[in-house]
Symmetry: C2
Subunit: 428 residues, 2 copies
């Protein structure tokens, strides 16, 4: 029986959840692996704060060095969240040869290289299954199951809040503001929902996923980002009429020419597996040269899924390092500068409002055609657009630059652009 | 740099695929892990047969002991398929301390205990990612990512052929026999399709999945099995009208009372993620106490996905055993006798043909009601059933025994039972 000492940074919802689960599972771990996992120190800000009964008060400390500089502590579980000081402390732990388990997507995405360099310098591994997709083991799948694959594309629903909002807007015909208020009351959206609805949370997660899947660092700054607050009921209804659902997607591709990545609301064909991802669920859809199309679907957040994923990481890192053999994780990081693709091809959904009764459609059609954009479908409530009438156009795949240029060239006296959304290719 | 010697049993499609992929990846493996993987012997039946150019003819042998008894060979990749002699040879290799990688679902399902006992006796691990779900890393997810979960339910589409047949029957309105002929011509169904369409293949895979997920052996003999050949166009159309799709599902539950497992065609709600699994794709939907609902979706078969999954196993087993530390896989097997549940609850789809013009519905309704079965929906083409008219009933969840008894009690002069199918619960 080997005793393995663990230090916790933070003891909020997640930290105490990890302490609880570790207590529950200690017996199984002892029995299955002949390893005794013991929490030695827990860093907190306030020693006087009331803690759950399964947190041993004698372990609490306000001195970070009791975790980061204790030579007996080989494993550090970071449960602080946020960029600072988490990133620095994780780097310090790694450089000191301590293996780190974290769910901190922001610190990871913004300090990817430093963390990996610290991991290499300290011969210590960094585990972060819980940072993306909660209960879904997508990080482990990318690391340990798809090694024989070149992954060239991933499309994901990785923000539960926005998927919940869009699902209710779709299923109940409600407006964004009404659903948001409801979600806030239920605790499913933050009082300030910006990080979710503007796609920042999805952007951090996409940076992590793509960096791992493509073996090339995709910095947050290279990700184009568009939120979902401008998606209106009209768009959802039009999309449905055309056979689509609107989802906030995180999308990245990697080809010989380079990488391309964005977070944006998109039309997804109703028969696409991503279309059936409802409520707060998450899913990652990817394509590899050997595995073909693959999707993993599951709960994206919540304290039980998150603590469960961190426990799984902790068990795995203990097993893998109990005999000090070479780390698998750091070995696979393979960085390098990759050009970003400057134009992309996508089908587009364009919703217009006719400002004048005559010649609207002819004008729009001529502008699209002169920019080499084909029209796949068109919704127009009456045969000739009346003033104020809505016209919805679904294009064939086209150069995004051309689409933007064609839209810019619309005569604003004739037509007002209400919304423009990308369309996910549906060929499976 | 450590040299690791590998022996192959069999060199057909899969065996030569593994040899090819290993050749392609040897450089990466050397670089990433400082390990040199070398194929030392390949067992074949016929030395004179033409082989692809990436198979080194000097490695071929017809003497199985060149693989099974060579002390230098630490890893055996079994690519023979079928029950015999694969199962015996894998047991022999494991007992001799050789780690085994296989895709052989039949040998695994039928010899689960012997294989695990041999693994324990020889302190060798058995890897079988490719045996279920081709490219989907479901085995590894169950082993290494969901350790902190008690899994109580799994529902899977794990036979690509039948899902392909049912998808085309649904999307194109074709009959079973016509689609089957087409699939056979395309090589997507065997000349003798029995193993697929009668659910045998799904049964082997379910035995493996459930044994792993529940940490209790589910023998093949305990799985109730019903094929899909009796699913008619009428059933598919009726299901669609009621908001469902028909899929051949493998289903297993594990509660404190015991286990329950069956393979059968079922109605799946159209908004359920399993409903969007089309063509030859596979998916495993499961529920764990910490992770909640989760699904993995991907290609279920094909030589590239299969060889890719086997390569991933081989890399993992080499990494895990390069330093001879305790095997993770065998340690987690936790067998024991679990009672099988003798009755189950499910909603049912019942299609009837009226044999007489009068009193049909009243009779059927009375029989169902006297067996405590509620009717959720009813399809009847005209207000009163004419002779030969079809009546479709969707029940509320009820005891399966009661449903069978109610159906047995129908007056055969009034009504003929055309089909009875289970309905997958849709609450997500």
């Amino acid at each position: 029986m080997k005793t393995m000492y663990i230090g916790l940074l933070g003891c909020g919802n997640i930290g105490s959840g990890v302490a609880k689960l570790l207590g529950e599972m200690a017996g199984t771990i002892r029995e299955s692996y002949q390893i005794e996992p013991v929490i030695k120190s827990i860093l907190v800000r306030d020693l006087t704060k009331q803690r759950p009964e399964y947190v041993d008060p004698s372990l609490l400390t306000v001195d970070k060095d009791k975790v980061l500089r204790d030579p007996e502590i080989k494993y550090v579980v970071e449960c602080l969240g946020g960029e600072h000081p988490s990133a620095d402390w994780m780097c310090e732990a790694l450089r000191a040869g301590k293996h780190v388990v974290t769910a901190n997507k922001m610190a990871l995405a913004l300090h990817w290289r430093e963390l990996h360099e610290a991991s290499e310098a300290g011969h210590a591994t960094l585990y972060y299954e819980a940072a993306v997709g909660g209960a879904m083991p997508i990080i482990k799948i990318l690391h340990d199951s798809l090694q024989a694959n070149r992954i060239d594309r991933l499309t994901a629903i990785i923000n539960g809040t926005t998927n919940y909002l869009l699902t209710r807007m779709t299923d109940e015909g409600l407006d964004y503001q009404d659903v948001l208020k409801d979600a806030q009351a239920l605790g499913l959206a933050e009082p300030d929902p910006t990080a979710d609805v503007e796609g920042e949370d999805a952007m951090y997660k996409l940076s992590i996923l793509a960096s791992l899947a493509f073996h090339r660092h995709l910095p947050v700054s290279a990700i184009e980002r568009e939120g979902m607050t401008h998606v209106a009921q009209e768009d959802i209804r039009n999309a449905h009429e055309l056979g689509y659902r609107i989802k906030l997607l995180a999308h990245a591709t990697h080809t010989e020419e380079g990488m391309d990545a964005y977070v944006s609301p998109m039309l997804v064909p109703e028969n696409h597996p991503l279309s059936s991802v409802k409520g707060a669920f998450n899913a990652v859809f990817l394509h590899g040269h050997a595995c073909g199309d693959m999707m993993i679907y599951g709960r994206g957040a919540g304290s039980a899924p998150t603590a469960g994923a961190m426990m799984s990481d902790l068990i795995n890192v203990i097993l893998e390092t109990a005999n000090d053999h070479a780390s698998q994780v750091q070995a696979r990081e393979n960085d390098g500068c990759v050009p970003m693709i400057s134009d992309r091809t996508s089908a587009f959904y364009i919703r217009l409002s006719a400002q004048d009764a005559t010649g609207v459609l002819a004008h729009v059609a001529a502008s699209l055609s002169s920019h080499q954009i084909g029209v796949k479908a068109l919704l127009q409530p009456v045969e000739r657009a009346l003033e104020g009438a809505q016209i919805t156009i679904l294009t064939h795949p086209a150069s995004e630059k051309n689409v933007r240029a064609a839209i810019d060239a619309f005569d604003k006296r004739l037509v007002k652009v209400m919304n423009v959304l990308r369309v996910e290719a549906g060929e499976l």
